[in-house]
Symmetry: C2
Subunit: 569 residues, 2 copies
Amino acid sequence: MLAEDDQGGARVARSDHYTVGIDFGSLSGRAVVVRVSDGVELGSAVHDYAHGVLDTRLADGGETLPPDWALQVPSDYVDVLSNAVPEAVRAAGIDPSQVVGLATDFTACTVLPVLADGTPLCELPDYAERPHAYVKLWKHHAAQPQADRINELAHERGESWIGRYGGMISSEWEYAKGLQLLEEDPELYARADLFVEAADWIIWQLTGVYVRNACTAGYKGIYQDGRYPDREFLAALNPEFAGFAEEKLAGEIGQLGDAAGELNERGAELTGLPVGIAVAVGNVDAHVTAPAARATEPGQMVAIMGTSTCHVMNHDELVEVPGMCGVVDGGIVAGSWGYEAGQSGVGDIFGWFTRTSVPAAYAEAAQAAGESVHEHLTRLAAEQQVGEHGLVALDWHSGNRSVLVDHQLSGVVVGLTLSTKPEDVYRALLEATAFGTRVIVETFRDSGVPVEEFVVAGGLAKNALLMQIYADVTRLPLSIIDSEQGPALGSAIHAAVAAGVYPDVPTAAKSMGKVRKDVFVPDDGRAQAYDAVFEQYLALHDHFGRDTKTMRRLKDIRRSAATREESES
Amino acid sequence: MLAEDDQGGARVARSDHYTVGIDFGSLSGRAVVVRVSDGVELGSAVHDYAHGVLDTRLADGGETLPPDWALQVPSDYVDVLSNAVPEAVRAAGIDPSQVVGLATDFTACTVLPVLADGTPLCELPDYAERPHAYVKLWKHHAAQPQADRINELAHERGESWIGRYGGMISSEWEYAKGLQLLEEDPELYARADLFVEAADWIIWQLTGVYVRNACTAGYKGIYQDGRYPDREFLAALNPEFAGFAEEKLAGEIGQLGDAAGELNERGAELTGLPVGIAVAVGNVDAHVTAPAARATEPGQMVAIMGTSTCHVMNHDELVEVPGMCGVVDGGIVAGSWGYEAGQSGVGDIFGWFTRTSVPAAYAEAAQAAGESVHEHLTRLAAEQQVGEHGLVALDWHSGNRSVLVDHQLSGVVVGLTLSTKPEDVYRALLEATAFGTRVIVETFRDSGVPVEEFVVAGGLAKNALLMQIYADVTRLPLSIIDSEQGPALGSAIHAAVAAGVYPDVPTAAKSMGKVRKDVFVPDDGRAQAYDAVFEQYLALHDHFGRDTKTMRRLKDIRRSAATREESES
């Protein structure tokens, strides 16, 4: 169809050609139409997942889910294709025939058990009431016991791959979630032909082809140096688990920016886009954002700051960083080692605090000033000197992804007095996430992966106080992505590469990526004052994160209470 | 006037004779008229202090006070005499001539600098804008540096009295507050002829006589075995402080239940009571409550639970309990060793949380259900199993009085997640105060002062959930005082003894005291479940209270921030 544009095997970046990027988040999916010549975003649309996150009970109002579960319904993702994509194209005012490629990015590790043809088990009527038949969202944290066993065994056996994951495999990832499925619902485990990343499942729906993207295969599937953990290791976890990698994770590996296939009839029907256009290999929301922010060089750490934060960064060499989420060859950009770290809760924590812990008077004052409660608290907090509130908090309300990799950890506030005000705690929570970032940056540096620039994407980039705190706490210049929809733009860049418009992702990023450089720079006085508070943060970090089992015991006690309640009722 | 009732030197407990007890609290004073024959309370009245607590600036809107200050205005106390007393007598429907005695109790250590005639320095026009001229309320915590030096020196010199105070002198007490006065405003220190407890100052206003009550002299004035700390010790703190005890604290010691003097003309004019009736030696709100709850025997720990909690208990022998507030001969009842311990923040913490940390939806739901926010949170929290919220808190928002004696400590919540609800934190705070009590009870037991019964007085006795938590956490039966105004009733009992109606306080307590026995008893299942949570509380308690300086550093940082702010503005 577009063969007339080919010049010596590569397409040119025509200004009347577009790609569509689709970003699947935790609560909604967003499609954006982007011009391939310069990355201008012409139109976008969002579609909310009808079922959202199932963390208390299944959609049908049935069984109560245990603590730490988080499920989703796969048809919600398909609804994004059929709603958001046509709407974005309409909003862009272009003709669908001008779209030359499509790419997606997804939350990860978000996984589901499916039949050989891709049918999710939860769509089989017999299994509709079985929690394990559903998508386990990235923040499903109920497989910690399995993760603990995986880690213990990996260290015991000296598995070579464990160092590639900072010494710890997360309960969020494929093996812990798969093992939980096996051990809690063996019938469903047996019935599942494959255990697939939603990132790849959605591409399968569009192309009819199942390709495992190199990013999740590496970061979440422990695919390193061309292979998965071996049968002996898996059998030692549970004899029935021996074939998990070979059988349930099997699939061709696709490199990021490559085409997984072409849009098939069904995909075209869903999206309204032309049959046959390139569909890129699946990808992950954070990783795809690096090129969107034109930050694919070594030394540029990209932080995608939303409900949680994901840090991604390229480096030429392979080193092992303690507590990093992972290092994967081609995990961000083909040909570089991609490093990933993360903070499990960031905007989530601010949102939780604003929702549950701020009295009516603040809500009223915010309304009177024409502000959101977030804006109101931020304005009050911005008036404070560093350290004035006397608090230090740990930002582990959803556990700690880096560098402790422990989802049994929980949030802490220390220093409360009867004079403590909501804006004090709010600011302490903002700072806690900045301190968490500093721990990550320093750990990378100490391991030989220096961070020179901190590039922020995601919704939190809008909070100037938060950004300044990050600059002051980390003593790094902050650049800010110049797009409201970084991941979707990043996907659109990958779509352009998959469609052959650009030879590779870094080249495409130069034309299509958007960033504002050094928007926030550290203030030396505040940076020094923060050093003193950070010292206390670090003391708490190590006490609760390394030295004691307090938080783990609290989770145990909580589980015992839940059991007691059941036995009483 | 009442001489016709005398029989062999002792009056009989006539059913048409009354005493007036006046309880001076942190925000108001309450007078109650009590029948001497059976302790029935006939009428009462409350008068709020016009100036309340000055903790941000002086009454005249002038100078901003530094953190941790808490001042009061002495004329507010006099206004209680002239307002609440006549009103209580009117409410009781008796004739003032039927009142045979008067007694008071006060917060402590609440102290003020005065001239030799009792005039408070803050009432001298020259000093009205000098913060140090005012009453330092018990919860003025700005003298911690001085307290630190007192403790260090006492241990260095092996002072015999330090063991009587659990090894630590509080920043709340006379020496720390006096030394702060000397060092921060030496001119005022020199001008003060005396540094007196408000408990004794108010008796001075009523009788014209300055008598130091044995209770505050012992607990707050380090008066042990008939003497104060010596000049050498005081001079080593600061040469100018050498004469502090001899000169500023000097005064005849009066035993509890004795008459300090008779109501003089001015006292009669203020109160509307007859000139010449007995006025008891001053006393302290907590200590005076023990006889009101008929709990003057060894093994009965009385907890006065309000904004803070004070624990008092008699024992026949003198032992040293680590971290107790003090042990004083005749400190509660003449002839017994009176032990005191305390928790700096209890109801205060619940109130702070309810005021600052509960969203509008809860306030609205409470209103719809016809409940206070406290009641609403309590009802929601009561539905939970022990440990279900997954939290553990430290109840140190106002510091820790026992057994750590450190007002630089602060509050902590551990275990927060994005599912944490306001009622979860509320319950964790209730429990934290119960754990704090358990630490005290166990420390007493381990030191040879066994606690067999926990007798609760004060406003928090009304919260059945809180009471049950205390019974479950401490595994003690809880008895509850059967009076809404325990301290005032206790004062009225002391007034009856001072007036000669009863030979001693325990005898008067048998007729006039009120208690409901074993209202809450421990449940074994819950007690066991709490053991696991308490273990975590104790780990935090020792970590933050003994092993690390985290909280002290946070206070330092806070003070530096305040300095930085001043230098900038």
